[in-house]
Symmetry: C2
Subunit: 516 residues, 2 copies
């Protein structure tokens, strides 16, 4: 297979002091392996509550039903599968959706062009991907503005350089300077060229999903794509209980091609779902089961993820709120439901409502990240960079959040109870009144014992004050600049790169710009 | 009993528009009941790991032992109890410490002068108390400066007005403008007068602990104090494995008087304990068991709390770090050990290393608060206001953290699976494609459905921008001012208040100022 992804990173080689200095000051592009949890999940729902929710979700599907809009072929598929179809309403007899879901894999590999960066989605794993979808960006210097393809490329580069990020994501921001009907091409190209991590396909039109598949065929080889999953894409359900033809059309393309979809209700509680936890979980389960079942009607065995996006609503302003206790309950509960359904689970992220990467943003984000880890999330979209309810991708928050993702990695390692972990020799050596800084056990273990930040400040007050009394946002801005200044593109076969460029140019030339 | 605490708050009464406006704009001084968890604890240690740690802790006590410094009476008590005493080293035979711990209550009531504000410490409960100990304060206007008694009083007032704070705390900041040997009197007076929530006693000298008891006898009545716990005070262990005579002397005073002590190793991992989780937990358990056992030698049944203060060390700067995954592991693990020992558990807090109430501070704090809730903590000291590794009490962070404590309350409520919680009627009423904003179920439930912030911003971007694009710190500064401007002192019997003032004046006049 001539199109095997290139496996090695490009490095500047050469003698001389400049090269050695460059080597010393180079920012590491090491990427951690996806998280394999060695800690238990937190489960907030009792068996009784889970049974109630599952029974009620079946009732919703059987008695209320779901709408598949503008999609006669979908209605035919449902009829053939045994559902009751009236107009565009599909009522799914009890048990049918769950039975159809059973052919979906509980875990799958998403391949990256660099095989070292393949991810396993499902089981005890957690794969972290950046923010998705914001029309605006914000940085410390320029403030808030519409996002451009230049911003997009910067985020892809930051994602590539982030040790704790396993996935390059999809629409890290909307490149609003490119026509709506063409920007997916530039976005995919950026992920393919500027990163070697796995990425997401386009879902805004079925034809754009098809373009995504075709570009992947250039990058990975046609046969490889048919046999392997190389994209995980985001299919939102129009909650409550509505499946539109654009999203379903994209899902159909991906499922047919064995590519993964996150089937995800988009819920602001109180608006798109009831104000209660159990009501929201019931609707979420019904929606995901209907969507996953539909994916399996397209191609049994197609990889899918049980998605849950939850925010509460601020009853004063109508704005979505994040990092709330209600969102946490739903995130924990949906994880239990996903595991009972045998599906990989997507939820949580760097969610916040704040306009700035300030304390509010960080409290909200930390609440959600911690919840996501303990809830058993397998794929965390929006794991870094989210600001202002998802309207804004923040450069500074991207690196702050990405740093916090290291906390999740270290926590998930679990606790070492080996003889070395027990450290009884150290306790005896140091004894009452001593200190451990120099003892043999500390010397042997300190390098790897504690998670270390790359962006937080722990300097003495006086030093920090003399250096300008910078807050997290200012420190993060320095890190953003340093990462982008030292970015080096991962190697890619020039022939493949040329063919990708050609594909994009040809496609773009084939249609007029559209801005809706 | 003439000294029964007054139960009702003082209110300005009167007719006229001004009074009604004042009523409408008054800041609520409602205090939530302490948290009674209706959610499970998160447990990270297996039974096997717990057994290893417990066995190793017994080995530490029996073979390495602990030092009781400058305290011959303590050594005599230990000898009489069956320990092996060599110099100041006390080696406690396997099983003895655990046996002595068994007389300590698993739960106790700490009384407040307003009985509605009594707290139950232990079981599934969580009591929240503010920051303790910082020599500096910081606010948005004045920056960082040495704390004064005026600052102290402001923090007591903020604590009194914080809905989610159940406890007034102790040394919310060090009033450095008062002599070291006298400031405990002013601090206690402030807690007694400006708040009606429960508080802590002084531990910096046994005589100051005695003063604390005597002032409580004025406030609550002498008999009441002997029969009831009215203070919970902080007794730190000088880790590793050292019990100094100041702290033990204070503990002795409190235990003799049936007053509660938190017996708490003070550990920066890598300095005062091994760099490993299990090693730190082993040392913590050994230290707490020795301290609790000693309290029970003083008075069997004296109320005590299993304390754990954990930070990691930043191996670059030597600074303590907070909100780390290692701290979380220790917090979860120590909770399991405390429950197996049958003791109330103190840990977690608004810990952070940041110099400002910025994103770093909030990530670190949120990580610790979430962990504390799920770890089964019963008494959370430092639950709000902590900055710069505990060197600084921040006014803005105090109200930001206090607001986040509401998240803990709402999460701990658990999940309502009643028919109303299931909301099946709402799902049927709204149906596919509808929205829930106006439906009957939402109308009936929205007021109480979601936790609401009192300080975060969810306004539309344009409004927020026009109002000055304020970050969390600026918004918090507004709230601090509003709370202090609207503060009203809770009623207290004037005779008691006069006697407290007299006690303080007499004590202060009886000794020269000392500044060490």
């Amino acid at each position: 297979m001539s199109e095997t992804p290139v496996r090695t990173g490009r490095r500047t080689r050469g003698g001389g002091g400049a090269a050695r200095r460059a080597e010393r000051t180079a920012v590491s592009v090491e990427t951690a392996k996806y998280i394999e949890r060695n800690v238990p999940n937190y489960e907030v729902l009792t068996e009784e509550a889970l049974d109630v929710i599952e029974t009620n979700a079946e009732t919703v599907l059987a008695e209320i039903g779901v709408d598949f809009l503008d999609n006669p072929a979908a209605l035919d598929r449902w009829k053939a599968a045994g559902a009751e179809v009236t107009g565009e309403r599909v009522r799914i007899p009890r048990g049918l959706a769950r039975k159809l879901c059973a052919t979906a894999p509980s875990q799958f590999t998403q391949h990256a062009r660099n095989p070292e960066r393949n991810v396993e989605i499902g089981g005890k794993n957690l794969v972290l991907a950046p923010i998705y979808g914001p029309p605006f960006v914000r940085d410390n210097e320029g403030g808030r503005r519409y996002a451009t393809i230049a911003d997009f490329e910067k985020f892809v580069k930051l994602g590539y350089m982030s040790k704790w990020l396993h996935h390059s994501g999809g629409t890290v921001c909307e490149p609003t300077d490119i026509a709506v009907n063409k920007r997916h091409l530039d976005m995919l190209l950026a992920h393919m060229i500027y990163s070697d991590k796995p990425f997401m396909g386009s879902v805004t039109e079925p034809s754009r999903a098809q373009d995504s598949v075709e570009m992947c065929e250039i990058l990975f080889g046609k046969e490889f794509v048919q046999e392997n999953t190389v994209m995980t894409s985001l299919i939102n359900i129009n909650s409550p209980l509505t499946f539109d033809s654009v999203m379903m059309g994209a899902l159909e393309v991906f499922a047919k091609n064995n590519q993964a979809s996150i089937i995800s209700p988009f819920i602001v509680g109180g608006a798109m779902a009831p104000v209660s936890i159990v009501g929201t979980l019931t609707q979420t389960l019904a929606e995901v089961m209907a969507g996953v079942a539909y994916s399996q009607l397209i191609r049994p065995g197609a990889p899918v993820i049980f998605g849950t996006f939850v925010a509460s609503i601020d009853m004063n302003s109508g704005a979505p709120t994040f990092g709330t206790p209600e969102a946490a309950h739903i995130t924990y509960g949906a994880g239990q439901l996903a595991r009972r359904l045998g599906l990989p689970y997507r939820s949580a992220g760097s969610f916040c409502g704040s306009k700035l990467p300030d304390a509010q943003a960080a409290y909200e984000t930390a609440n959600s990240l911690q919840t996501g880890l303990l809830a058993g999330v397998n794929f965390m979209l929006h794991a870094c960079g989210w600001l202002e309810g998802g309207m804004v991708a923040s450069f500074e928050k991207f690196v702050l959040d990405a740093d916090q993702l290291g906390v999740l990695h270290h926590f998930a390692r679990g606790i070492d109870i080996s003889e070395n972990g027990q450290a009884m020799g150290a306790i005896a050596e140091v004894g009452p009144g001593g200190h451990y800084l120099g003892c043999a056990h500390t010397q042997a273990n300190f390098k790897d014992a504690f998670w270390r930040t790359n962006v937080f400040d722990y300097k003495p007050f006086e030093t920090w004050d003399e250096e300008g009394a910078r807050d997290s946002q200012a420190l993060a801005a320095v890190r953003v600049k340093r990462l982008l200044d030292t970015y080096q593109q991962p190697a890619l076969d020039p022939e493949i790169e040329a063919r990708l460029h050609e594909y994009v140019a040809t496609k773009k030339a084939s249609m007029p710009d559209a801005f809706i």
